[in-house]
């Protein structure tokens, strides 16, 4: 159904952004499948066991995920490069194992009876998050994030509390992954731990890398292509993973920098440069 495709595309765009938000401060997180599972199961438990309203439980669960994300990022950020990646993969695995062994969450059998998400809920969230990221890309915050990502040590020497910036961005990414997980679960009706395994985390990262890591559009495009492209060869279900793999290899070969690699300038001097050059504005005169 077209509605399903659109829904899953929207969810995947949100998940790609959850990875992108963390990547904005320089960390590559493979833990977002775990954060997604946290959101799905925590809200699922509250809506099915206590009959609470989905919209009532999403905000506190997102907050919980943000705190959890911030907490796990603290030790994770002490490690670098490949070690950080391994730590975040570990978080995804632990989350899966934890759910599998939990009776209350249905264990390996899964959790059912989850309803309440309409596709338009996801589209609205895509719009809100996208608009937020777009606004951020023109603010000083974007520059600070770019600085932390490009050279953390120099950023710190300028006075930026890089740990704080990274922890907050981890928390924000975790909250978005958890919110997406909640919406996803309450659309699927029935969820199992393997919906949120390490592969899920890997896919989210792939969307961002294939689409481009420097702007919000890359992640969205990557997620859209990777969600819809395999659908074009319906009827050959057994070939879908192969096609998926081939697309990844092809894109990485043709555009290793991602489909949309540009970075938006946060500020421009534009015509003011000419005024300075002509000496219409004097150094020091305009200093705040």
């Amino acid at each position: 159904m077209i509605q399903d495709y659109l829904f899953f595309t929207g969810i995947n765009v949100l998940l790609a952004w959850s990875v992108y938000i963390i990547l904005m401060s320089g960390s590559l997180s493979f833990a977002n499948g775990g954060f997604m599972a946290l959101g799905a199961y925590a809200t699922g438990y509250l809506t099915t066991t206590y009959g609470l309203d989905l919209w009532l439980v999403i905000p506190p669960v997102a907050l919980l995920a943000a705190l959890f994300g911030a907490l796990v990022s603290l030790p994770a950020l002490r490690t670098r490069g490949v070690y950080l990646i391994l730590v975040t993969i570990g978080i995804s695995i632990c989350m899966g194992v934890g759910i599998e062994s939990s009776e209350a969450l249905g264990g390996v059998k899964g959790m059912g009876g989850l309803v309440g998400t309409e596709p338009w809920h996801v589209f609205v969230l895509v719009g809100v998050v996208g608009l937020f990221l777009l606004i951020v890309s023109y603010t000083p915050l974007q520059r600070i994030l770019d600085a932390v990502r490009e050279d953390e040590y120099v950023a710190r020497s300028l006075g930026i509390n890089t740990t704080y910036v990274k922890v907050v961005s981890f928390g924000a990414g975790a909250a978005l992954a958890a919110t997406s997980g909640a919406l996803y679960a309450h659309y699927l009706i029935f969820i199992r731990p393997e919906h949120f395994n390490v592969m899920m985390s890997l896919f989210m990262v792939l969307y961002v890398i294939l689409g481009g890591v420097n702007n919000l559009w890359g992640a969205a495009l990557g997620a859209t292509i990777m969600t819809l492209a395999p659908e074009f060869i319906r009827g050959m279900a057994e070939w879908r993973p192969t096609v998926f793999g081939l697309i990844i290899i092809l894109l990485l070969l043709v555009r290793p920098q991602g489909l949309l690699a540009f970075r938006t300038r946060t500020a421009r001097a534009g015509t003011r440069v000419a005024k300075w050059v002509q000496g219409k504005l004097v150094p020091g005169g305009a200093a705040s």
Binding site: R143, A147, L158, G159, A269
Partner: protein, 250 residues
Amino acid sequence: MKMALSLTNVCKRFGGVTALDGVSFDVAHGELLGLVGPNGAGKSVLVNVVSGFYPLTTGSILVDGRDVTYAPPHHFGRLGIARTFQNIRLFKRMSVLENVLVAFPRHVRSPFGSILRWNRRAEIDHALALLSQMRLVEKADQSAGSLAYGEARRLEIARALATEPKLLLLDEPAAGMNDRETDELRADISDLRSMLDAIVLIEHNVEFLRGLSDRLVVLDYGRMIADGVPDIVLKIPAVVEAYLGAAEDA
């Protein structure tokens, strides 16, 4: 009297390597201190220690009378210490203008609050003023990665100035520049003095410092071998020897 910078018995060891070995000196307010010494003497390590890049092994650092020895790294910038790098470290993906804007204290101190603060025209003008001072204003909208070597060095200074520092540490700012660029840079640095409380200038070439610096501190193998007025320091036999030795190596 409070000093702009005061180092007491600063030691820095990397495993078995002692890069700084009991270095003590003060930089007075208004002073331009030249820090010289042969390659590997520990000059860059000293800048790294004073700017919070490396924690020191023993000793203490006071900035304007405040003990910063155990301050977290990001506090150094906020306390008014800015620096440049011997190996240029600009944010290459950003524009020249953005490299300056990113360092403004208002945003640096509350990054997430800066979502609500747009790029004010006054701020851009302030950045352009700093760029104009470093003769880079025409390049404002270019990518920092596209700058020539000498320009990149000057942009590092402009970025450092954007933090509104009291103390500026320049690590071989003239390295790789030709004679004309070096002379221009010398004039630029001279002009900066009025904006800053104190400057520590590392330079391999002592001729660059003669007439520019008020005082020279000479390092050799992590030890301070001289501290005084340039004309006198450069006649001390140990200094001459350290330099001649280095010249022969080169």
